[in-house]
Amino acid sequence: MLFAPELVLLLGSLLLFFLSLGESDGKGARNVTILLGLAGFVLSIITLFQEGSLFMGAYRIDLFSQLFKVLIAVGMTCVVIFDGEMKGISARMRPEYYLFLTLSCMGLMLLVSSVELITMFVALELSSYSLYLMVPMRDDTGGIRFQMEAAIKYILFGIIATGAMLYGMSYLFGLTGSTHLEVVVPKIIELSASSPAAILGIALFMFGFFYKLAVFPFHFWVPDVYEGAANSTTAFIASVPKLGAVAILIRLVVMVGPTGGDALVNLLIVLALCSMFYGNLSALVQTDVKRMLGFSGISHAGYVLLGLLTLKDSGFATSIYYIAGYLVMNLACFLVICKVSKNGENVSIDDLSGLHQRAPLLALTLGVGMFALAGIPPFVGFMGKFMLLTGAYKAGHLTLVILAALNTAIAIYYYLSVVRIAFCNDPDERPSVSVDPMTKLVSVFLMVVIIAMGVAPAKVLELATTAVRSIL
């Protein structure tokens, strides 16, 4: 029972594999994937408060891991549902596309539960390989093959980050003689006050996950991959893997202990500031919505680091809250992009003109998503940023808080100018956008979650705090 969510996805991917063998237009595969996502969601909820250890201590089920599994399943289901017509995915590869999507989610679910270094690495690679493969599956309509360029960039940067991560792991193994976190963590906490190698090992290990989270300077793949991958693939890459990255970063930051590790905190401060400034300033000049959201994702990665660098369980809980909020806000924006794009082509900001007449529900979803990303009350983005900033302030990082607040102000400009174009410009000749009932359901669900998490954050935060305490 403890292993049920992963097991369902594994068996489901077997089913998808058989579907991919025959001739198929992908509809069946898509329905199977939606069912798998829902089953994963339900099973993660059922196992939410269970605990256990599997596979000789390499795999732990606790509130922390199950919470992330719930979020991963939500993200997976939403992405598959709102990509109803599978626009932009090469027609011959649709069943395989869903197979890789399912396996990528399974890899992430395994990743958040792994408490052994090599298991972590292999689970991460399982999820990454599947993502690498989803990028070039875009329909090659223009014949310019820039999805291939995006895929190659994604793989090459990924390999470099993985290499750094493995090097860091080798330091941790060399210092402790074990790959199991339950042995490694106490020893490294002891060593981290005195040994630079321990800090270096943790930092290098983190690089692999900074890459997933798109923290500066591991962001180089972001704009090209967001632009080159199909809209729904980008929606997936932009939201779901970041959950896994945050989960593991929390497990790693714990290693420096509550007091040691000034060097690591300083590193995180620098990376957070660089990510915020770089992401926000670059986003100002973008005309493609996906590229803009890519740069905004870099700056949001900087905000998530604010919670980690407090080294307190309340800070880690805020990071979980923020990344959960980021998942729903981002999905809301990408839902609109997927629907507005007629044949799966990229959407420029001007293409959103007059969206309130062409598709009122989508315009509302876009408005809520963008307002939330900008950090305006009463949406989840505001509460998240507010708590991250107060947490960092309490930990004594005043300069950092001022600079981060400044960044929030910069970000408001480009998010709201998208909303302005959608609501104030005339649609001109642009056709109206049809939305299927399932997608309507998802967009209402996302809006409700964005507002509910923003209005009543206490429950979620409490759950996240309990989850974080369960791994300390």
Binding site: F100, E116, E125
Partner: protein, 176 residues
């Protein structure tokens, strides 16, 4: 006192230095050569050196795998790739301007220096804590006990890699 050159320690140190030299020379050739096929031979030399180091450290199984997988399979695949792609001999790799070379040298040596200093100052686990003798039997035992999860997961990763390459290769060359 230092061991003399012909004592067992001295000879084994000589072997070690020889293997390191092969690895480094191979890596330099792989990055500096102008023709792709020469880069590949440098890479093969580098892999062989690393395999030798594994053997030197008492893991014959890992050394064999290194030879079998990296030299025997990966290098051959790259060779096939180079032959099929017919690289344009006229367009040899051009040297970048001097400044970028200097800058990358500075950045690279800074990273190497930092890693080396941290490594030299660290208290590594004492070598006496030997986990096993690196034989096939021990590797097999730990794959089916401590690392059983990884063992199962790797098969899924391989499945993804195979399916992915098939799916992409099937349509990758469509020209219509």
């Amino acid at each position: 006192m230092n061991p003399t050159l012909l004592s067992p320690e001295g000879l084994s140190g000589l072997v070690f230095l020889g293997l390191v030299a092969v690895t480094i020379c191979g890596a330099v050739i792989a990055t500096a050569a102008k023709r792709l096929i020469r880069c590949l031979t440098g890479l093969v030399a580098c892999f062989m050196g690393v395999a030798g180091l594994y053997y030197y450290l008492g893991s014959p199984f890992v050394a064999m795998m290194q030879l079998l997988i990296y030299v025997g399979a990966i290098a051959i695949v790259i060779a096939f790739g180079i032959m099929l792609a017919e690289p344009d001999e006229a367009k040899l790799v051009k040297k970048k301007s001097g400044l970028s070379g200097v800058l990358s040298l500075i950045a690279g040596s800074a990273v190497a220096w930092g890693l080396a200093v941290a490594a030299l100052r660290a208290d590594w686990m004492s070598p006496a804590v030997k986990l096993n003798d690196g034989s096939v039997r021990d590797v097999g035992m730990s794959l089916l006990t401590t690392y059983s999860m990884v063992f199962e997961l790797v098969s899924v990763v391989l499945l993804v890699a195979i399916l992915g390459s098939l799916a992409l290769a099937r349509t990758g060359r469509d020209k219509e």
